[in-house]
C-alpha cells in the first residue's frame, strides 16, 4: 500500500465527505432557473464556473483538514521518532497528497455528474473557455492545500485549524471582483452568463499563479524545515524563482487595474 493511499484510508470518512458536501452545497446554492435549482444546467460555461468556484469552501476545508491530520498524526512529538534521515516535511507531504487526491476525486466525480446534467439539458456550449476552465478549480484547491501544509508545519497548534479555515475563506475578499488573478479559490458566476465567456488570459494567469504559489510554498517549506547541516539551497532557489513568477503574473493585472473577467462571445 502506498503512503498516500494509507493516509487516504486513514482519513477518507471525514475528508472525502466534508469536501463532497462543500462541492454539493455550492453547486446547489447558485441561482435557480425557472424556479428549479442547479440553474447552471443551461450553460456549460456557467456549470464549469460554479464547479471550480466550489473551491470557495473546498480550499479552506482541505487546508484545515491537512492541519488537523498533521496535528493528530505527525505532530512534533511523533516527528521525534521518525528516522533521522527522513525529512520533517515528508509525512506532511504524504498527508497533503492524500487530501489533494480526495479533493480532486470529488471534483472529478462532480464534473462527471454536472456534465451529464448539462448534456441531458442540452446546455449552451458557446461560452466554454477550455482547457483553462477545467484547470483553475483543481489548481486553486492544490494551492489551498499547500497553505494548509505550511501552517501545519510552521504553526502546529490547534488554533491553526479554524485559523486557516477562516483565512482561506476570506481570501476571496482579496482576489474576487477586481479582475486580478485569483489565489486559492476561484470566482464563480452566480447568475446566467450566456452571451459571454471568461477571458482566457485571465484564467491562464489564475492557473499559473496557483501553480507557482503551490511550488513556492512547498519548496520554501523544504528549505525552512530542514534540520541539521547541508541546507537544500536548490529548494530556496526554486522558491525565490516561483515568488518572482507569482509577482510577474499578478502585478501586470493589478497595475492595469483590470476589472473584466468576462468578454462577449464572438
Amino acid at each position: 500500500m502506498s503512503a498516500v493511499f494509507m493516509w487516504i484510508k486513514a482519513s477518507w470518512k471525514l475528508v472525502l465527505s466534508a469536501l463532497a458536501i462543500a462541492q454539493l452545497m455550492v453547486m446547489y446554492n447558485v441561482q435557480p432557473v425557472d424556479g428549479i435549482p442547479f440553474g447552471w444546467r443551461v450553460d456549460w460555461s456557467w456549470m464549469l464556473s460554479v464547479w471550480g468556484g466550489a473551491t470557495l469552501l473546498m480550499s479552506p476545508l482541505a487546508a484545515a483538514a491537512v492541519v488537523a491530520l498533521v496535528l493528530l498524526n505527525v505532530n512534533p512529538e511523533v516527528q521525534q521518532g521518525l528516522p533521522a534521515n527522513v525529512p520533517r516535511w515528508k509525512p506532511v507531504a504524504h498527508i497533503s497528497a492524500a487530501v489533494a487526491v480526495q479533493g480532486l476525486a470529488v471534483q472529478l466525480i462532480a464534473l462527471g455528474i454536472c456534465s451529464l446534467v448539462c448534456w441531458l439539458c442540452q446546455a449552451d456550449p458557446r461560452g466554454l473557455t477550455l482547457p483553462w476552465q477545467l484547470l483553475t478549480g483543481p489548481v486553486a484547491l492544490i494551492a489551498g492545500i499547500a497553505v494548509g501544509s505550511a501552517v501545519a508545519m510552521l504553526i502546529p497548534t490547534y488554533w491553526s485549524i479554524p485559523g486557516v479555515l477562516f483565512a482561506l475563506f476570506l481570501a476571496h475578499r482579496i482576489f474576487f471582483w477586481h479582475g486580478w488573478p485569483e489565489l486559492f479559490t476561484t470566482e464563480m458566476a452566480t447568475g446566467m452568463v450566456t452571451g459571454g465567456r471568461p477571458i482566457p488570459g485571465f484564467l491562464a494567469a489564475t492557473t499559473w499563479l496557483n501553480v507557482v504559489t503551490a511550488v513556492a510554498i512547498w519548496s520554501g517549506l523544504i528549505f525552512v524545515t530542514h534540520r541539521g547541516r547541508h541546507r537544500p539551497w536548490l529548494a530556496l532557489l526554486i522558491c525565490l524563482v516561483c515568488i518572482g513568477g507569482a509577482l510577474g503574473i499578478y502585478l501586470p493585472f493589478v497595475l492595469a487595474d483590470a476589472w473584466d473577467t468576462y468578454e462577449p462571445i464572438g
Binding site: M1, S2, A3, M6, K9, A10, S11, L69, L72, N73, V74, N75, E77, V78, Q80, G81, L82, P83, A84, N85, V86, K90, P91, R227, G228, R229, H230
Partner: protein
Amino acid sequence: MIKVDALTVRYPRATTPSVSEVTLELTEGVTALLGANGAGKTTLLRTLSGALSPTSGQVTINGLNPYARRERTDALDKIAFMPQTASVPRDLTAVDFVAYLTWMRGKRRTPARAEALEALDAVGLANRADDKLKRLSGGMVRRVWLAQALAAQAGTLLLDEPSTGLDPRQRATMVELIQARATGTVLLSSHLIEDVLSLATSVIVLREGRVVHRGPLTSEVNESWLLSLIGDAEE
C-alpha cells in the same frame, strides 16, 4: 560499533550545553545510560540517532559519520531509535505505522509490511496489528515504538526510557521484551535503576551532561551507589 569523541551538544539560546565533552565507545551488549531528569540522556541519544547535530566533537557508527552528507544514509541505516514519546499517529493502524516508518527508511513496500508484522509479533501485538493506534493502551503504544525500532533490523538500538510511565505489569513486559529481542548493540536510557540492573551489562552515568561513570555492571555496582552518582534532577 559507535564511537563518541568529545561530543558537546548545546541547544540554540541555551547558556550551558546539554551534553558536554562526552567520550565513549559502545560495543555489542546492552549498555544503560543512567541519569536524573535533565542530565542529557535524551539529547545524547537523539544526537547518536542523527536527529541532532553536535556542536563539537565526533560520532562514528561503524566508522561512518552520520552528519556527513555522503555517509549519512549508510550510517543511519545501522541505527534504530525508540523515542520516549507516548504520542503516535492516531488514525493509522499499528501495522501501517510500523510499515510506513520501515518504508521511509528505504525498504520496499512489501518487505516493509512483512517486517512490520514480524516486529509486531515479536512485541506481542500481532493480534492488534490492524487496530488504530488511538485504540491501544499506553503500554501497547510503547511496544509499537519498540516494534518500529526492531523492524529496522539495524545493528544498534537506541531506546529512550523504554519503560518510563508504564504500570508495573507493562514495565515487566517491556523489560522481558528488551531482554529477548534486543540484540546487537543496545543503548537504553533510564532513570529506573531496577530496570537497568536487570537488563544491562554495562552502565554509563550522566550528570549535568557529563559522563561521571562508565563501566561494566559488576556485583559491586548497587542501587545506592548508582543513586549517589546520579544526584538530583536538574531544576
